[in-house]
Amino acid sequence: MVVQVSDRFLVAAAQAGDPHAFEVLVGRHQVAVYRVALRMLGSGVDAEDAAQEALVQAWRGLSTFREESAFSTWLYRIVTNRCLNARVARHPTEALPDVLIDRDSDPAEVVAQSERLHALARGMLLLPAEQRAALILRELEGLSYEQIAQALGVTVPAVKGRIHRARLGLLKARATWR
Protein backbone atom coordinates (compact mmCIF):
# COMPACT_ATOMS: atom_id res chain seq x y z
CA MET A 1 0.00 0.00 0.00
CA VAL A 2 2.70 2.41 1.02
CA VAL A 3 4.60 1.93 -2.24
CA GLN A 4 1.76 3.66 -4.06
CA VAL A 5 2.39 6.89 -2.18
CA SER A 6 4.80 9.44 -3.58
CA ASP A 7 7.70 10.93 -1.67
CA ARG A 8 6.25 14.30 -2.57
CA PHE A 9 3.01 13.62 -0.65
CA LEU A 10 4.86 12.16 2.32
CA VAL A 11 7.29 15.09 2.46
CA ALA A 12 4.41 17.59 2.39
CA ALA A 13 2.62 15.71 5.19
CA ALA A 14 5.81 15.47 7.24
CA GLN A 15 6.53 19.16 6.69
CA ALA A 16 3.07 19.91 8.04
CA GLY A 17 4.10 18.06 11.20
CA ASP A 18 3.00 14.44 10.78
CA PRO A 19 5.71 12.18 12.24
CA HIS A 20 4.01 9.10 10.80
CA ALA A 21 4.53 10.33 7.24
CA PHE A 22 8.19 10.93 8.09
CA GLU A 23 8.46 7.41 9.48
CA VAL A 24 7.31 6.01 6.14
CA LEU A 25 9.95 8.14 4.40
CA VAL A 26 12.64 6.87 6.75
CA GLY A 27 11.55 3.28 6.15
CA ARG A 28 11.81 3.91 2.45
CA HIS A 29 15.20 5.62 2.38
CA GLN A 30 17.11 4.25 5.37
CA VAL A 31 18.88 1.54 3.33
CA ALA A 32 20.42 4.08 0.96
CA VAL A 33 21.38 6.42 3.80
CA TYR A 34 22.96 3.61 5.81
CA ARG A 35 24.72 2.11 2.79
CA VAL A 36 26.38 5.42 1.90
CA ALA A 37 27.50 5.87 5.50
CA LEU A 38 28.84 2.32 5.63
CA ARG A 39 30.89 2.70 2.46
CA MET A 40 32.07 6.18 3.49
CA LEU A 41 33.12 5.20 7.02
CA GLY A 42 33.92 1.51 6.88
CA SER A 43 32.33 0.55 10.18
CA GLY A 44 28.80 -0.56 10.88
CA VAL A 45 28.70 1.19 14.26
CA ASP A 46 29.88 4.51 12.83
CA ALA A 47 27.54 4.13 9.89
CA GLU A 48 24.58 3.58 12.17
CA ASP A 49 25.44 6.72 14.15
CA ALA A 50 25.92 8.80 11.02
CA ALA A 51 22.69 7.50 9.46
CA GLN A 52 20.73 8.21 12.63
CA GLU A 53 22.12 11.74 12.93
CA ALA A 54 21.47 12.40 9.24
CA LEU A 55 17.86 11.27 9.43
CA VAL A 56 17.14 13.25 12.60
CA GLN A 57 18.77 16.26 10.96
CA ALA A 58 16.50 15.70 7.96
CA TRP A 59 13.40 15.82 10.20
CA ARG A 60 14.56 18.99 11.93
CA GLY A 61 15.50 20.60 8.63
CA LEU A 62 12.44 19.51 6.67
CA SER A 63 11.17 23.08 6.39
CA THR A 64 14.32 23.96 4.44
CA PHE A 65 13.71 21.24 1.87
CA ARG A 66 12.42 22.72 -1.38
CA GLU A 67 11.48 20.62 -4.30
CA GLU A 68 14.41 21.74 -6.39
CA SER A 69 15.84 18.27 -5.97
CA ALA A 70 14.43 14.85 -5.21
CA PHE A 71 14.01 14.07 -1.52
CA SER A 72 16.46 11.18 -1.94
CA THR A 73 19.11 13.54 -3.34
CA TRP A 74 18.57 15.86 -0.41
CA LEU A 75 19.07 12.95 2.01
CA TYR A 76 22.21 11.88 0.15
CA ARG A 77 23.48 15.40 0.60
CA ILE A 78 22.89 15.36 4.35
CA VAL A 79 24.41 11.96 5.01
CA THR A 80 27.38 12.58 2.71
CA ASN A 81 28.16 15.87 4.44
CA ARG A 82 28.09 14.13 7.82
CA CYS A 83 30.46 11.47 6.57
CA LEU A 84 32.82 13.95 4.93
CA ASN A 85 33.28 15.51 8.35
CA ALA A 86 33.64 12.22 10.19
CA ARG A 87 36.73 10.12 10.60
CA VAL A 88 37.12 6.89 8.73
CA ALA A 89 37.41 3.79 10.91
CA ARG A 90 41.02 2.98 11.48
CA HIS A 91 40.34 -0.71 11.42
CA PRO A 92 37.43 -1.14 9.09
CA THR A 93 35.57 -4.19 10.25
CA GLU A 94 32.34 -4.15 8.41
CA ALA A 95 33.30 -2.46 5.20
CA LEU A 96 31.85 -5.45 3.49
CA PRO A 97 29.06 -7.67 4.66
CA ASP A 98 29.00 -11.35 3.86
CA VAL A 99 28.93 -12.33 0.26
CA LEU A 100 25.89 -14.42 -0.47
CA ILE A 101 26.82 -17.94 -1.37
CA ASP A 102 25.19 -19.10 -4.52
CA ARG A 103 24.66 -22.84 -4.40
CA ASP A 104 25.81 -23.35 -7.94
CA SER A 105 28.99 -21.35 -7.74
CA ASP A 106 32.46 -22.62 -7.13
CA PRO A 107 33.33 -22.05 -3.43
CA ALA A 108 36.91 -21.08 -4.27
CA GLU A 109 35.65 -18.46 -6.69
CA VAL A 110 33.20 -17.17 -4.08
CA VAL A 111 36.00 -16.75 -1.56
CA ALA A 112 38.24 -15.10 -4.11
CA GLN A 113 35.52 -12.66 -5.09
CA SER A 114 34.68 -11.97 -1.46
CA GLU A 115 38.31 -11.12 -0.82
CA ARG A 116 38.52 -8.91 -3.86
CA LEU A 117 35.37 -7.01 -2.87
CA HIS A 118 36.62 -6.69 0.68
CA ALA A 119 39.87 -5.23 -0.61
CA LEU A 120 37.94 -2.92 -2.90
CA ALA A 121 35.78 -1.58 -0.07
CA ARG A 122 38.92 -1.01 1.98
CA GLY A 123 40.72 0.57 -0.93
CA MET A 124 37.84 2.99 -1.27
CA LEU A 125 38.38 4.07 2.32
CA LEU A 126 41.92 5.14 1.42
CA LEU A 127 40.72 7.52 -1.26
CA PRO A 128 40.33 11.21 -0.40
CA ALA A 129 36.83 11.58 1.08
CA GLU A 130 35.51 13.86 -1.70
CA GLN A 131 36.54 11.34 -4.33
CA ARG A 132 35.10 8.48 -2.32
CA ALA A 133 31.77 10.26 -1.91
CA ALA A 134 31.45 10.96 -5.63
CA LEU A 135 32.39 7.39 -6.52
CA ILE A 136 29.91 5.89 -4.05
CA LEU A 137 27.04 8.04 -5.26
CA ARG A 138 27.82 7.18 -8.87
CA GLU A 139 28.83 3.51 -8.79
CA LEU A 140 27.01 2.17 -5.76
CA GLU A 141 23.92 4.37 -5.64
CA GLY A 142 23.56 4.94 -9.38
CA LEU A 143 22.97 8.70 -9.24
CA SER A 144 23.40 10.84 -12.35
CA TYR A 145 26.25 13.34 -12.52
CA GLU A 146 23.70 16.13 -12.07
CA GLN A 147 22.26 14.54 -8.93
CA ILE A 148 25.75 14.01 -7.51
CA ALA A 149 26.59 17.63 -8.24
CA GLN A 150 23.48 18.69 -6.29
CA ALA A 151 24.26 16.31 -3.43
CA LEU A 152 27.87 17.42 -3.13
CA GLY A 153 27.31 21.08 -3.94
CA VAL A 154 29.89 21.14 -6.76
CA THR A 155 29.77 21.37 -10.54
CA VAL A 156 29.23 18.43 -12.90
CA PRO A 157 32.79 18.66 -14.31
CA ALA A 158 34.13 18.57 -10.75
CA VAL A 159 32.08 15.45 -10.07
CA LYS A 160 33.41 13.77 -13.20
CA GLY A 161 36.96 14.68 -12.24
CA ARG A 162 36.58 13.24 -8.77
CA ILE A 163 35.11 9.99 -10.04
CA HIS A 164 37.84 9.68 -12.62
CA ARG A 165 40.58 10.22 -10.05
CA ALA A 166 38.89 7.78 -7.71
CA ARG A 167 38.88 5.04 -10.37
CA LEU A 168 42.51 5.73 -11.19
CA GLY A 169 43.43 5.63 -7.50
CA LEU A 170 41.65 2.33 -7.00
CA LEU A 171 43.32 0.83 -10.03
CA LYS A 172 46.77 1.84 -8.86
CA ALA A 173 46.17 0.77 -5.30
CA ARG A 174 44.86 -2.57 -6.49
CA ALA A 175 48.30 -3.85 -7.40
CA THR A 176 49.43 -3.42 -3.80
CA TRP A 177 46.57 -5.45 -2.31
CA ARG A 178 47.79 -8.61 -3.89
Binding site: S6, R8, E139
Partner: protein, 182 residues
Amino acid sequence: MALTDPTERLPCGTELAALITQFAEVAPAANPAHQARCQYCQASLGRIQELLSDVRALADEPVRVPRRLLEEVMARVDGPAGAVTLRDAPRGRTQVSEAVLAGVARQIAQTMPAVAFASALAHASGQGTVVLRVRLVVDYGPSLPGLAAAVREQIVKHVRRLTGVRVTEVEVSIDDLAAPDT
Protein backbone atom coordinates in the same frame (compact mmCIF):
# COMPACT_ATOMS: atom_id res chain seq x y z
CA MET B 1 48.66 9.24 0.67
CA ALA B 2 49.26 10.08 -2.96
CA LEU B 3 47.80 7.15 -4.78
CA THR B 4 47.34 8.93 -8.00
CA ASP B 5 49.45 10.50 -10.63
CA PRO B 6 46.95 11.33 -13.34
CA THR B 7 49.66 11.68 -15.94
CA GLU B 8 51.13 8.26 -15.32
CA ARG B 9 51.96 6.53 -18.56
CA LEU B 10 52.36 2.88 -19.45
CA PRO B 11 55.76 1.82 -20.84
CA CYS B 12 54.24 2.18 -24.33
CA GLY B 13 53.47 5.85 -23.67
CA THR B 14 49.68 5.50 -23.30
CA GLU B 15 48.15 7.38 -20.37
CA LEU B 16 46.48 5.08 -17.86
CA ALA B 17 43.83 7.75 -17.30
CA ALA B 18 42.90 7.68 -20.98
CA LEU B 19 42.29 3.93 -20.81
CA ILE B 20 40.02 4.35 -17.79
CA THR B 21 38.02 7.05 -19.54
CA GLN B 22 37.75 4.84 -22.60
CA PHE B 23 36.29 2.05 -20.49
CA ALA B 24 34.11 3.93 -18.05
CA GLU B 25 32.60 6.25 -20.64
CA VAL B 26 32.50 3.64 -23.41
CA ALA B 27 34.53 5.99 -25.60
CA PRO B 28 36.55 4.97 -28.67
CA ALA B 29 40.25 4.23 -28.20
CA ALA B 30 42.61 7.06 -29.10
CA ASN B 31 44.78 4.71 -31.12
CA PRO B 32 42.95 1.43 -31.75
CA ALA B 33 45.66 -0.10 -33.93
CA HIS B 34 48.30 0.38 -31.26
CA GLN B 35 46.01 -0.74 -28.46
CA ALA B 36 45.07 -4.00 -30.18
CA ARG B 37 48.64 -5.25 -30.33
CA CYS B 38 50.18 -3.55 -27.26
CA GLN B 39 50.69 -5.92 -24.32
CA TYR B 40 50.78 -3.05 -21.79
CA CYS B 41 47.52 -1.58 -23.03
CA GLN B 42 45.86 -5.00 -23.08
CA ALA B 43 47.04 -5.86 -19.57
CA SER B 44 45.83 -2.52 -18.23
CA LEU B 45 42.48 -2.83 -19.96
CA GLY B 46 42.08 -6.25 -18.33
CA ARG B 47 42.77 -4.77 -14.91
CA ILE B 48 40.37 -1.92 -15.52
CA GLN B 49 37.64 -4.28 -16.62
CA GLU B 50 38.14 -6.40 -13.51
CA LEU B 51 38.04 -3.33 -11.27
CA LEU B 52 34.85 -1.98 -12.79
CA SER B 53 33.21 -5.38 -12.61
CA ASP B 54 34.17 -5.67 -8.94
CA VAL B 55 32.72 -2.21 -8.32
CA ARG B 56 29.46 -3.38 -9.86
CA ALA B 57 29.53 -6.52 -7.73
CA LEU B 58 30.06 -4.36 -4.64
CA ALA B 59 27.06 -2.26 -5.65
CA ASP B 60 24.95 -5.41 -5.80
CA GLU B 61 25.99 -6.56 -2.33
CA PRO B 62 23.00 -6.47 0.00
CA VAL B 63 23.54 -4.29 3.05
CA ARG B 64 21.66 -5.09 6.22
CA VAL B 65 20.38 -2.00 7.96
CA PRO B 66 20.39 -2.36 11.76
CA ARG B 67 16.81 -3.00 12.76
CA ARG B 68 16.87 -0.41 15.51
CA LEU B 69 17.85 2.45 13.19
CA LEU B 70 14.24 3.37 12.36
CA GLU B 71 13.23 3.08 16.01
CA GLU B 72 16.11 5.23 17.22
CA VAL B 73 15.39 7.91 14.66
CA MET B 74 11.68 7.99 15.48
CA ALA B 75 12.42 8.20 19.21
CA ARG B 76 14.10 11.54 18.47
CA VAL B 77 11.37 12.82 16.17
CA ASP B 78 9.04 14.98 18.17
CA GLY B 79 5.42 14.98 17.18
CA PRO B 80 2.77 17.46 18.27
CA ALA B 81 2.94 18.28 21.96
CA GLY B 82 -0.58 19.52 22.71
CA ALA B 83 -3.51 17.69 24.23
CA VAL B 84 -7.27 17.96 24.57
CA THR B 85 -8.65 18.06 28.09
CA LEU B 86 -11.97 16.34 28.53
CA ARG B 87 -14.63 17.88 30.75
CA ASP B 88 -13.42 17.86 34.35
CA ALA B 89 -14.30 14.69 36.13
CA PRO B 90 -14.72 14.67 39.91
CA ARG B 91 -11.64 12.54 40.50
CA GLY B 92 -9.08 14.06 38.14
CA ARG B 93 -9.09 15.23 34.55
CA THR B 94 -8.50 13.18 31.40
CA GLN B 95 -6.32 14.35 28.58
CA VAL B 96 -5.95 12.93 25.09
CA SER B 97 -2.86 14.04 23.21
CA GLU B 98 -3.00 15.53 19.73
CA ALA B 99 -0.66 12.77 18.59
CA VAL B 100 -3.14 10.10 19.68
CA LEU B 101 -6.07 11.92 18.11
CA ALA B 102 -4.18 12.27 14.84
CA GLY B 103 -3.26 8.59 14.96
CA VAL B 104 -6.86 7.54 15.53
CA ALA B 105 -8.12 9.77 12.71
CA ARG B 106 -5.45 8.44 10.38
CA GLN B 107 -6.35 4.84 11.07
CA ILE B 108 -10.03 5.46 10.56
CA ALA B 109 -9.39 7.18 7.24
CA GLN B 110 -6.98 4.45 6.26
CA THR B 111 -9.63 1.74 6.63
CA MET B 112 -11.99 3.44 4.17
CA PRO B 113 -12.19 1.84 0.74
CA ALA B 114 -10.30 3.78 -1.95
CA VAL B 115 -8.04 5.49 0.58
CA ALA B 116 -4.50 4.34 -0.19
CA PHE B 117 -2.77 6.44 2.43
CA ALA B 118 -3.81 9.01 5.02
CA SER B 119 -1.96 11.63 7.01
CA ALA B 120 -3.67 13.42 9.87
CA LEU B 121 -2.94 16.34 12.17
CA ALA B 122 -4.94 17.28 15.25
CA HIS B 123 -5.23 20.65 16.98
CA ALA B 124 -6.94 21.07 20.32
CA SER B 125 -9.63 23.69 19.73
CA GLY B 126 -11.16 24.05 23.17
CA GLN B 127 -12.25 22.02 26.14
CA GLY B 128 -13.01 18.51 24.92
CA THR B 129 -12.85 19.46 21.25
CA VAL B 130 -10.44 19.02 18.38
CA VAL B 131 -9.98 20.19 14.80
CA LEU B 132 -8.55 17.63 12.39
CA ARG B 133 -6.79 18.05 9.11
CA VAL B 134 -6.64 14.93 6.95
CA ARG B 135 -4.70 14.53 3.72
CA LEU B 136 -5.46 11.59 1.49
CA VAL B 137 -3.91 9.63 -1.31
CA VAL B 138 -6.81 7.92 -3.05
CA ASP B 139 -7.35 5.27 -5.68
CA TYR B 140 -8.64 6.41 -9.01
CA GLY B 141 -12.37 5.84 -9.30
CA PRO B 142 -14.73 7.02 -6.61
CA SER B 143 -16.45 10.38 -6.47
CA LEU B 144 -14.08 12.55 -4.50
CA PRO B 145 -16.65 14.78 -2.74
CA GLY B 146 -18.53 11.64 -1.71
CA LEU B 147 -15.37 10.03 -0.43
CA ALA B 148 -14.35 13.15 1.51
CA ALA B 149 -17.81 13.34 3.11
CA ALA B 150 -17.69 9.66 4.09
CA VAL B 151 -14.22 10.00 5.60
CA ARG B 152 -15.34 13.07 7.56
CA GLU B 153 -18.43 11.33 8.88
CA GLN B 154 -16.55 8.20 9.99
CA ILE B 155 -13.85 10.24 11.70
CA VAL B 156 -16.31 12.40 13.62
CA LYS B 157 -18.23 9.35 14.77
CA HIS B 158 -15.35 7.08 15.74
CA VAL B 159 -13.05 9.68 17.28
CA ARG B 160 -15.91 10.60 19.59
CA ARG B 161 -16.61 6.97 20.38
CA LEU B 162 -12.97 5.97 20.94
CA THR B 163 -11.57 9.03 22.69
CA GLY B 164 -14.51 10.99 24.06
CA VAL B 165 -13.26 14.04 22.18
CA ARG B 166 -15.73 15.97 20.05
CA VAL B 167 -14.53 16.79 16.56
CA THR B 168 -15.61 20.29 15.60
CA GLU B 169 -14.08 20.30 12.14
CA VAL B 170 -12.44 17.88 9.73
CA GLU B 171 -10.66 19.46 6.84
CA VAL B 172 -10.18 16.79 4.18
CA SER B 173 -7.83 17.34 1.27
CA ILE B 174 -7.27 14.86 -1.49
CA ASP B 175 -3.69 15.52 -2.39
CA ASP B 176 -2.66 12.71 -4.64
CA LEU B 177 -3.79 9.70 -6.63
CA ALA B 178 -2.27 6.35 -5.73
CA ALA B 179 0.17 5.00 -8.27
CA PRO B 180 -1.32 1.98 -9.98
CA ASP B 181 -0.16 -1.41 -8.72
CA THR B 182 2.70 -2.76 -10.71
